[in-house]
Amino acid sequence: MSKYRKVAYYPGCALEGTGHAYNASTKAVGKALGLELDEVRDWNCCGAMEVKNIDPKVQTYLSSRVMSIAAHEMKAKVVMAPCNGCYHNLKKAEYDLAHDEASRETVDRISKKAGHETYRAGSLETIHALDWIKDGVGEEELRKRLKNSLKGLKVANYYGCMYTRPRHIFPEKDRGPGSESTSQPHFMDDLLAAAGAENVDFPLKTACCGGAHTLSDSDTSTKLVLNILRAAEAAGADVIATECPTCHSGLEMHQVRAEKVLGEKTKVRMLYFTQLLGIGLGVSPRKLSVHENVSDALGLLKEKGLA
C-alpha cells in the first residue's frame, strides 16, 4: 500500500476562504479514490508572504509548527498541502532547517517558548495534492475508477510559479522518469490525461500571474493574467486547470477585471484539477463546489455532457 494512502492534511488559510471549492473537491476526490486525510490539529498559517516579507525565520517557525504537530503529535510520516504557497513554505522550512543553523536556533527557541516539540528536518515528508493522487493512486488506478471520461474537454494546465521554484527546495523533483520536472511540470497533465482530458500544449504553464502585484499594481496583474488566458485560448483550451487557490482566484478575478477595465473578454473557464478529476470519477459538480467558482464552468460542463 502506498505511503500516501493516509496523510496528514494541511489545508491552509486560503482553502478555508476563497479556495473553499478546492478544499471540498480535494476531500471529495480523496474519498472517491479511497485516500484518507487526517487534518493537522490546531494548524496555523504557514507564514505565507506576509510573515516571510517581515522575518523569514518566523515564517520558518510557523511552517515548522505545522510539521511538528503532524510529525510528533499525529505521528504522521507525510503531510499534504494542496496550496502552492503552503507547500512551498513547508518545503522551504524543511530546507532551511536542514541547512541553516540560525533557522534551527530560532525555531528551537520559539518552539520551546510555545511549549511544543521542535520540528527537526527529515522527520516528515511534505507533498502536494498532485503527488498525493499521482503517487497514492496513479494513472492506471484512476483510469479503472473512471465513470465519466473527460473526453472532448481541452485543458491547459497552469501550475503557477511556486510549485517548482526555487528548485533547491524540491530535491525529489528532476530525478528522471517518474519524477516531477521543475521546468516542464507534468503531474497535473498526467492525471487529467488519465481522466480522459485532452491537454493542450500550453507554454505559460509556470509563468508568473502577477499575484504579487495584485494589490500594489493591479493593472500589471490583469495584463499578465489576460496574456495567460489568451494564450490558453490560442492553444485551444476550453478550461484552465489549476492546483493552487491563489493562482485560481487570481485568474478568475483578473478575467473579470480585464473585461471591466480593459474591455477584453475571454471565454476560457477555470476549474481546480480536483474538480475535473472529481467529475471524471462521477462526483456531482455540486459536491465538488463547482458552483462556488467565480468562473462559471457549469454551462461548459453541460455542453460537454459532463454535468
Binding site: 508572504m49 516571510k52 516579507n53 517581515i54 522575518d55 523569514p56 525565520k57 518566523v58 517557525y61 530560532t106 527557541r109 520559539i110 510559479c161 511556486m162 521554484r165 526555487p166 521546468s183 516542464q184 507554454p203 505559460l204 504553464k205 509556470t206 509563468a207 508568473c208 502577477g210 499575484g211 504579487a212 502585484h213 500594489s216 499594481d217 500589471t220 495584463k223 499578465l224 496574456n227 495567460i228 489568451r230 494564450a231 490560442a234 492553444a235
Partner: protein, 119 residues
C-alpha cells in the same frame, strides 16, 4: 517575425540589466543570447527565475518557427514575449524589493531580525 520577436525579448532583458547597472552579456547559452541574458539577470535575484521558462519557451518557439511551424506558433511566441515584457516591467517597478515573490527586502535589510524573533 521570429528574429524580430527574439530581438524584442533580448531588448527587454537588456533593459533590466542596464537598470541594475550591468552591461548585458554578448554570450550565448544553448546558442541563444536570450538565455544568457536571463542567466545574467537572475544572478542575485532568485525571483527573476520566474521568467526562466518563459525565456526557454521563447527559444523553443523560435526553433519551431525556424522549422516551419504554422502561424499559431508565431502568435504564441508573440504572447510569450508580451508576457516577458509585462513581467520585467513589473519587476522594474519594484526593483530592489523583489525576493522570491512579493517579499520586501528593504524591510529585512534595514531592521534587526533577531530583535523581532526574540519577542
Amino acid at each position: 517575425m521570429r528574429q524580430a520577436l527574439l530581438a524584442r525579448a533580448e531588448a527587454v532583458l537588456e533593459e533590466w540589466l542596464r537598470a541594475r547597472g550591468e552591461t548585458p552579456t554578448q554570450d550565448t547559452v544553448e546558442t541563444f543570447r536570450l538565455l544568457a541574458l536571463h542567466r545574467q539577470g537572475a544572478r542575485g535575484v532568485p525571483s527573476f527565475n520566474a521568467c526562466r521558462e518563459t525565456c526557454r519557451e521563447i527559444a523553443y518557439h523560435y526553433n519551431l518557427l525556424a522549422q516551419g511551424a504554422d502561424e499559431r506558433a508565431g502568435r504564441m511566441m508573440q504572447m510569450l514575449v508580451a508576457h516577458l515584457e509585462l513581467f520585467v516591467r513589473g519587476k522594474m517597478e519594484v526593483e530592489g524589493l523583489g525576493e522570491f515573490c512579493c517579499a520586501s527586502r528593504p524591510l529585512r535589510r534595514d531592521s534587526n531580525a533577531e530583535e523581532r524573533t526574540d519577542g
